[in-house]
Subunit: 397 residues, 2 copies
């Protein structure tokens, strides 16, 4: 249902009407929800749509050229007004007994890096695409970036508060993958969206992802409770299934300027902005990963990333990216950087010991923060885990 | 047949064996071709494949998980050994009497900018993808980035020397487009690849593109003549049809450091590198466009781009991007920048005159050159034309 949108505004973290007096320490799940009146429920309509899982595919009127003009945006986008069960052109189908969505895609040439395997950014893009297509198939999509009709009527947009991706195997150029996605409830006013990426040929799971979403009023930039109208639209799609089971979500510490790596003066490029005119949340990991030493990026592959979104990032923002390796990471980083593998705390290291180090994953903590006037305001906290690269052919499971 | 690859090495522009004594003035069509022995012709085989247009789709063995290992790269990529007429997963078909290729795609959420229309980079990516899929469908694809089996055997890769794209209408998020591509001969040793992007719903032409390709020896980095073996593979696919008819190709002047706009110290990011470990030629326009003033990028849309590739750009290169508006562009740029529309060369401008200026396209000349040790070595020359943005809905044809 939800789609990637821009991260929560700093206004999310305050509840007063004073724009300049906000408290960053307040956590997302403790905030007071403001505004957003619920409209008349359309639950009956939504449920009748739900019942129509086996409906035949509704053909959508094609855009036409009239009087030398290209047809209207809505026609060109082909947004359906009713739930679809098959989307032939996107190669999507409704699954999970009518509430989940599966996209089949071939990894394209421009989605892979020099090693022929899909980049993290491509994977995040495909997750975003799957989520948006899911809303498209639901027949609920308004004009917004993944917003339902009820959300558009209430001037609400989705904002992501947390995202976690685990990648066991990277799909390669030309490989066919199936991406499943579905949604569930998260607290009173939130939503969870999960994904699973599989090899189409073998069913082998390549990656898992989960995310948490809340609604924001597009004008006031404040979090909103979920209006009844919207709850009626989306709650029939909620299921319990989880792609990643977390006993207790890992807490990400806040880095300060003592962090080992820092990239300053980062400016959002035009290509980073999404349809909501803010930096697309898929772009943040790019800034995070650019702080990690090249030699680590060459020898290792990201196996997990957690992102905690704190505030939205506008196009005029100046951003700082901080990065701190975990203790064992520092050790390994140091060994590599100094090219001195014979001494560690005064002890000589046998190659076996070093070899076992090599097998350990590296872990980094990240922070993107605003520089300039809004200095040190957090944008995103992150946590990444890296495993040594294995040869593509064959690699063990 | 050909696919985007990295641009011609500076070695292309010299023919001696001395790496450091080269002459940049020598033009591509005047160069002496070196090396590359022709192997035994496989024309008979290729022609028999050509005859098989109506063949049923050959099913390709699926990759499997054996002993806990993911299958080999070749299996995962599903590269066919024989010509295919339909590629269901990529939604591609063979057209033009058996030699052209058509891909049907839905414009994805991450391929559009804040205005919901596809970005230039997305369009270039899709052209690249279509070209590579065309080679894939031909059954000739080797392991390389668009190289045929014969090219792989001769250690040859494709390098693009020129690319021209004309965009009349930008497809928007969710729009279904058909991208046709085909190839033709270009001189004795080159190949032309053309494209046409159409609205799937109406057949309306959105964009046209043409490009010229030559072969380079991957080890020596020198241009190669086309071995007979490769000619036999690809020439049966050549047709005369042209997407853009040019009476006489526009000459792009070389800019110097007096150019009006300059971005220095540009470093290729890891994400810019393609499977050949060089900057993908699709990334160059990004550097070019970043020199153009923001207000022009906001009010205007690129309607045409010509790129002349001069040398390849490695990952360690430092790049400078120069940009010069045409005379009328300078005038308009100046008016905008000074926010002073009342005086021009001492004359007062009626709003009608200014209005007519607004309708003229803006034109810029570009140059990307290497900084640092290889200072002022040309990488790419470019030429862009920009029209004022029209509202998406509806826009006139």
């Amino acid at each position: 249902m939800a789609a990637f949108s821009y991260p929560a505004s700093y206004n999310i973290f305050r509840c007063s009407s004073n724009r300049d007096n906000h408290d960053h320490k307040q956590k997302l799940n403790n905030i007071r929800i403001v505004g957003a009146s619920g409209r008349s429920s359309t639950k009956a309509d939504t449920l009748s749509q739900m019942a129509g899982v086996a409906n035949t595919f509704n053909s959508i009127s094609n855009p036409v050229v009239e009087n030398g003009c290209i047809a209207k945006e809505e026609l060109r986008q082909n947004i359906p007004t009713k739930k679809q069960s098959v989307d032939r052109h996107r190669q999507g189908i409704i699954i999970e007994g009518g509430v989940g969505y599966r996209l089949t895609v071939v990894i394209r040439s421009y989605e892979v890096g020099p090693d022929k395997s899909a980049t993290l950014e491509s994977i995040l893009n495909l997750l975003q695409e799957t989520a948006l297509n899911h809303v498209w198939m639901s027949g609920l999509l308004g004009n917004g970036f993944g917003a339902t009709r009820g959300m558009v009527r209430n001037n609400l947009i989705w904002v992501v508060s947390r995202m976690q991706v685990q990648i066991d195997h990277y799909p390669i150029w030309g490989e066919i993958v199936e991406i499943d996605t579905w949604v569930g409830g998260s607290g009173k006013n939130g939503m969870r969206r999960d994904w699973l990426i599989r090899s189409q040929a073998t069913g082998h799971v390549f990656a898992r992802a989960t995310s948490t979403w809340v609604m924001m009023n597009q004008q006031t930039r404040r979090l909103s409770k979920m209006p009844e109208e919207v709850r009626a639209e989306i709650s029939p799609w909620f299921i319990e299934k989880q792609a990643i089971k977390e006993e207790c979500p890992e807490k990400i510490i806040k880095l300060d300027n003592k962090a080992r790596y820092m990239n300053s003066n980062l400016k959002p490029k035009r290509s980073y902005l999404d349809m909501n005119h803010h930096v697309n949340n898929v772009k943040y990991p790019r800034w995070m990963l650019e702080t990690i030493p090249d030699e680590i990026l060459e020898s290792h592959q990201l196996s997990s990333i957690i992102l905690e979104y704190r505030k939205e990032c506008g196009s005029s923002e100046i951003v700082q990216s901080l990065c701190q390796p975990d203790e064992d990471g520092i050790l390994k980083d140091g060994l590599r950087q100094n090219n001195d593998i014979s001494l560690l705390n005064g002890f000589s290291l046998a190659s076996e010991i070093l070899g076992s180090f090599e097998k350990l994953p590296l872990r980094y903590t990240h922070l993107l923060q605003a520089a300039g006037e809004r200095q040190n305001e957090e944008i995103v906290r992150g946590r990444t885990t890296w495993n040594r690269k294995m040869p593509i052919m064959p690699f063990s499971t």
